[in-house]
Each structure stands twice: as structure tokens, then as C-alpha cells.
């Protein structure tokens, strides 16, 4: 049954400046709905990474209003931040893998942080690593992995707990075209289960692969939204039940993201 979805993220006239410098984001307003797929584009220095940082709660804006999951994220007490962050999967541009942990342990981290037992995390983590093509490198430390392999570990870590929002900063920048498409399919699968996906990329080829996606274009810190569709988007239903087999499972609480 289709039902109207409440907005999951709302930015209203958000501005961000670092120290006393100029605003790297200015008057950014948009609304994200569950189950939508967004591409964030823009030239280098346009403010994409800064916008993503606000999205994954790594910083607070200098002005404006941010609501996430129906709550004011700016005045959110510190002790509530972890609960919100567990609902956000992040693929960092520089991967940010924990250097001394194996690929397996890096992917397992979000589940361990969430308090899942070792018994419950073993299969999902192994399956996820298998799926991103690193099943035979599960013991490898990040330093011994190639850039593309590290990126796949970072993506596996971001999606393993099946977040409500997936925020990915250039997630396919270091992988070959075939793997890029495969990872995009993973994001789409997750998206069909209701996860809101925001992917920052320069790759127009990648954007064309997701025809239903919405484009957020940043230009010198301002969001191009000539029709107002990003700020006041038409409400769209959650599309349930069409997920591929690879993502069907009981969810984070049950453990399995991949079969």
C-alpha cells in the first residue's frame, strides 16, 4: 500500500562558514524524502563535502534550520547524536577506514557499535564483503588494499547496518566502471527498501544510470533550484516490495542485508 512519506531531512536557509571566512554554503534549502535517490553535483569547491558533513551530523551550520527525522538537528543534545548517526550511513571521500582493523572488522564496526552480538554480525559482514568482491581479502588491513578495494570496504561499512540515509562522497571515484555500476546497483537496492541515498559525484555517466534520481547542483555554495522542486518537492510514495533478492532480509535488527 502506498502512503505519503514524511520528509526525512529538511534544510531551510542553511549557511555555513568556517571561522571568519566566507560562507561556503549560503541559503541552502531542500527537503529529502524517504526512498528518494539524490545526486549532489557541482564543481570542486562548490561546497558538496561541506553539505554532506551537515547531512551526516559532523558539524552544525552557522545559520538556518536543519530538521532530521522530524527533529531539530541543530539544537539536538549531544547525547542524542549517536542514535541519529546510527541511522546515517556515510561513505567518506577519503574512506576513513580504521587503519589497524581488518576489512572484516571495519565492516563490522557499525553493527558492533549498535550492540549486535558477534554471532549475529558474522554472516552479514562476510556476505557483504563477498558481495563487494573482497571475500578473500577479509583479513587485509586498509594499508594493504588498493584505493578501489578500500572504497568498497568503506561502502560495505556504510550500508551494512541498512541506514535510513546513505550519504556517499564520490563513492565510485576509485573503482573500475564495472564495479562502479555494481555499487550503484547496491545503492539502488538499498534505496528501494526505503533508504534515502545522497551521492556526491562528478560522474554524469553514473547519474544517467539512475533515471529516477533527483539532481542537487551546488554552485559556489548555493543550491540551484530554479523550479523550487528541491525545496518543495512533490510528495512521493515509498516504493516497497520491489527490492532485489540481494537486499531482502530482516533489516539491521535481524542482521542480514545480503542473503
Amino acid at each position: 500500500m502506498n502512503q505519503p512519506a514524511a520528509e526525512i531531512v529538511q534544510f531551510d536557509n542553511v549557511g555555513l562558514r568556517y571561522g571568519a571566512g566566507r560562507e561556503v554554503l549560503a541559503d541552502v534549502s531542500f527537503t529529502l524524502y524517504p526512498g528518494c535517490f539524490y545526486f549532489l553535483t557541482g564543481a570542486s569547491g562548490a561546497g558538496k563535502t561541506s553539505l554532506l558533513k551537515l547531512l551526516y551530523l559532523a558539524g552544525r551550520p552557522s545559520r538556518g534550520l536543519i530538521r532530521m527525522f522530524g527533529t531539530d538537528a541543530i539544537t539536538l543534545p549531544r547525547e542524542r547524536l549517536p542514535g541519529f548517526r546510527r541511522r546515517i550511513g556515510v561513505v567518506f571521500q577519503d574512506f576513513r577506514l580504521v587503519p589497524h582493523l581488518s576489512a572484516w572488522d571495519n565492516v563490522a564496526l557499525p553493527l558492533r557499535v549498535a550492540g549486535q552480538s558477534e554471532k549475529d554480525i558474522a554472516k552479514p559482514v562476510s556476505d557483504m564483503l563477498e558481495w563487494v568482491g573482497l571475500g578473500d581479502r577479509f583479513q587485509a588491513r586498509p594499508a594493504t588494499l588498493s584505493g578501489g578495494e578500500q572504497q568498497r570496504v568503506a561502502i560495505a561499512r556504510a550500508v551494512i547496518a541498512r541506514p535510513d540515509i546513505l550519504v556517499a562522497d564520490e563513492p565510485t571515484g576509485n573503482v573500475d566502471p564495472d564495479m562502479a555500476i555494481k555499487l550503484l546497483r547496491l545503492f539502488e537496492s538499498l534505496n528501494r527498501l526505503g533508504t534515502t541515498v545522497v551521492v556526491a559525484t562528478h560522474d554524469l555517466h553514473l547519474i544517467r544510470k539512475v533515471p529516477d534520481s533527483l539532481i542537487m547542483r551546488l554552485d559556489k555554495g548555493k543550491l540551484a533550484d530554479p523550479t523550487g522542486a528541491l525545496r518543495y518537492p512533490p510528495r512521493r510514495p515509498i516504493e516497497g516490495g520491489s527490492a532485489p533478492d540481494s537486499l531482502i532480509g530482516p533489516g539491521p535488527a535481524g542482521g542480514n542485508l545480503l542473503p
Binding site: 559532523a58 542514535g83 548517526r85 564496526l109 557499535v113
Partner: protein
């Protein structure tokens, strides 16, 4: 023991579960911490043992001397000395609250002055005007009013008598023991302060070293308490190992010192030996140390994490 042995490499467990990988890589998270703790615990054990032994010595001596009164008959004439001694004894034997009163035999008096005067052949200590001594035991403490009453009664019959509470002779010693006990308490407080400072620095250093990892796990939704628990466990392990080593070192030192003091053969020092309850107190010092370290590490890390994103 198997679990203990498994924990000896001191890898930090991510969230404490069996078989988990370490969240923070440094096996030597806190560097020389175990040795610092060991030294602090050893010094604390020695200081505490000293304070306890001194307390015992003071208590034992105080109990012995509490009801003790010494009556001296200070007279140069042996016959007069003897007469007044007998008169004093007669008064004391009838005085209320007196448990016993006995003249110290001459050979014991000779033995008392022997270390100063020697026992060379031909020496005749009987010719020396050594005061006659009467050892009196009162029921209860020799309080100033009782002493005054006793003095009045004795001097009436033996004018050359001097009546003193035995505890008054050792009053300066008791004061010195009290000062030493305070000093030992002060030292223990200083050791605790030094330990807290060392843990504070080690925790801050470890936080700096692992800042990037902490930021990552924060972004993955780890709470401050989860992260603090990792540091807390690591430091507690350090403290436990240091505590065991420190306790052993401290106990060996205490036993060695005890043997040396026992060899002195002084009655008061011999009474300063430790009871089993004291050993329990000493064994509790490393446990208190571990708790102190855990609380300090936790508060330090939580305070630092609150300043992070």
C-alpha cells in the same frame, strides 16, 4: 587463569565481546603506566604498613602504660630511702583504685642502669644513690586528678616521693608517632594525586594518538561512554598489572623492614607488627588503585570527548 593469560597481551577489545578485534591498536596504550602504578602502589603499601604498625605500637604502649604509675623515692640516704619506700608502699596498698604496687627489686634497678654504668668487677652499684622505684598499676587510666590524689597521699608519708604517670614519660614519643602517622597519610594522599596526574596525562596522550579512530567511530554512532569504556578497560588492565607488581614489591619491603625492626629487640617496636586485618587493608590498596585509575580515566576521556564533534 586462562582468561587472565589471554588478557595479558593487553589488546583493547572493541566493545568487550569475546573474539572481537581491538578497537584501538596500541598494545602499549598507556606506555609506562603499569610501572608508574606499580611504583605508586608499592610506596603506598609501605607508607600504609608503616602507619598501621605505628598505630599498633602506640596503641599497645598506651594500653600498657595507661594505668601505670611510677613512684620514685629520691633520697641519698639508703636507710631513709628504704623507710620512705616502705611507707609509700603501705599507703599505696590501701589507696582506692590501686590494683598492685610493688617495689622494683634492686637487681632490676641495677640492670636498668647497667648500660650506662657497666658491670666491671669491683663496681658496687649499691653505693650509688639510685632512687627506689615502685611500680603501681591502677584500675583504669592514671588521670591527672587520680594522680594528684595519689601524690598527696604518698608524699604525706614519704616526702621524698615523686609520683608520675608512666604514660607521661612516653608522651613525646606518642606525639612523634602521631606526627609520623599524619605524614604517612599525607604521603598516601600525594601518591594518589600523582597517580591521578599520571593517568590524566596518559589518557590525554592516548586520546591524541587515537583521535582519528575516535572520530570515525563517533561518526558511526558510538557513544562517548562506549569509547570511554575502551580507555577505561585498558587503563584498568594496566593498573591491575601494576598493582599486583607494586603490592608484591611493597609487601616484600614491609616484611624486610619488619624483620630489621624485630631484630632491634625493642619491646615497643615489636608491638608494631601487623595484624591479619592490616594485611587485608594492604591487599585492598591495589584494588583501590585500580578503581581510582578507572574513575580518573573515565572522567578524563568523557570530558575530552565532549569537546569533540
Amino acid at each position: 587463569m586462562k582468561r587472565l593469560a589471554a588478557s595479558l597481551p593487553r589488546t583493547l577489545r572493541a566493545w568487550g565481546g569475546e573474539g572481537e578485534s581491538p578497537l584501538l591498536p596500541e598494545a602499549r596504550l598507556s606506555g609506562p603506566m603499569p610501572w608508574v602504578i606499580a611504583i605508586m602502589i608499592a610506596l603506598t603499601v609501605v607508607a600504609a604498613a608503616s602507619a598501621l604498625a605505628l598505630r599498633h605500637a602506640a596503641q599497645a604502649a598506651s594500653a600498657d602504660l595507661e594505668g601505670g604509675v611510677t613512684v620514685q623515692i629520691v633520697s641519698a640516704a639508703p636507710a631513709e630511702r628504704q623507710r620512705q619506700a616502705e611507707a609509700a608502699l603501705a599507703v599505696l596498698s590501701r589507696a582506692p583504685g590501686v590494683l598492685s604496687a610493688a617495689a622494683v627489686p634492686q637487681d632490676q634497678l641495677n640492670a636498668l642502669v647497667e648500660p650506662w654504668l657497666g658491670t666491671r668487677t669491683g663496681d658496687d652499684l649499691d653505693d650509688l644513690p639510685i632512687p627506689a622505684l615502685i611500680d603501681v598499676r591502677l584500675a583504669g587510666a592514671a588521670t591527672p586528678p587520680r594522680l594528684t590524689a595519689l601524690r598527696t597521699a604518698v608524699v604525706a608519708k614519704a616526702p621524698a616521693a615523686r609520683v608520675d604517670a608512666q604514660s607521661s614519660w612516653l608522651a613525646p614519643v606518642f606525639r612523634a608517632i602521631g606526627a609520623l602517622q599524619w605524614a604517612a597519610g599525607g604521603l598516601i594522599a600525594l601518591f594518589a594525586f600523582a597517580t591521578v596526574s599520571a593517568v590524566l596525562l596518559a589518557a590525554r596522550n592516548a586520546l591524541g594518538t587515537h583521535r582519528e579512530t575516535i572520530e570515525i567511530v563517533h561518526m558511526l554512532g558510538a557513544t562517548d561512554v562506549q569509547i570511554a569504556r575502551v580507555f577505561q578497560r585498558s587503563m584498568a588492565t594496566d593498573a591491575a598489572m601494576g598493582g599486583v607488581v607494586g603490592l608484591l614489591a611493597g609487601v616484600i619491603t614491609v616484611l624486610g623492614l619488619g624483620r630489621q625492626f624485630a631484630a632491634l629487640g625493642s619491646g615497643m617496636v615489636a608491638q608494631g607488627s601487623l595484624a591479619w586485618t592490616d594485611w587485608v587493608v594492604l591487599a585492598g590498596i591495589p584494588i583501590a588503585g585500580v578503581l581510582l585509575v578507572m574513575v580518573t580515566a573515565r572522567l578524563t576521556v568523557l570530558s575530552a570527548l565532549r569537546r569533540m564533534v
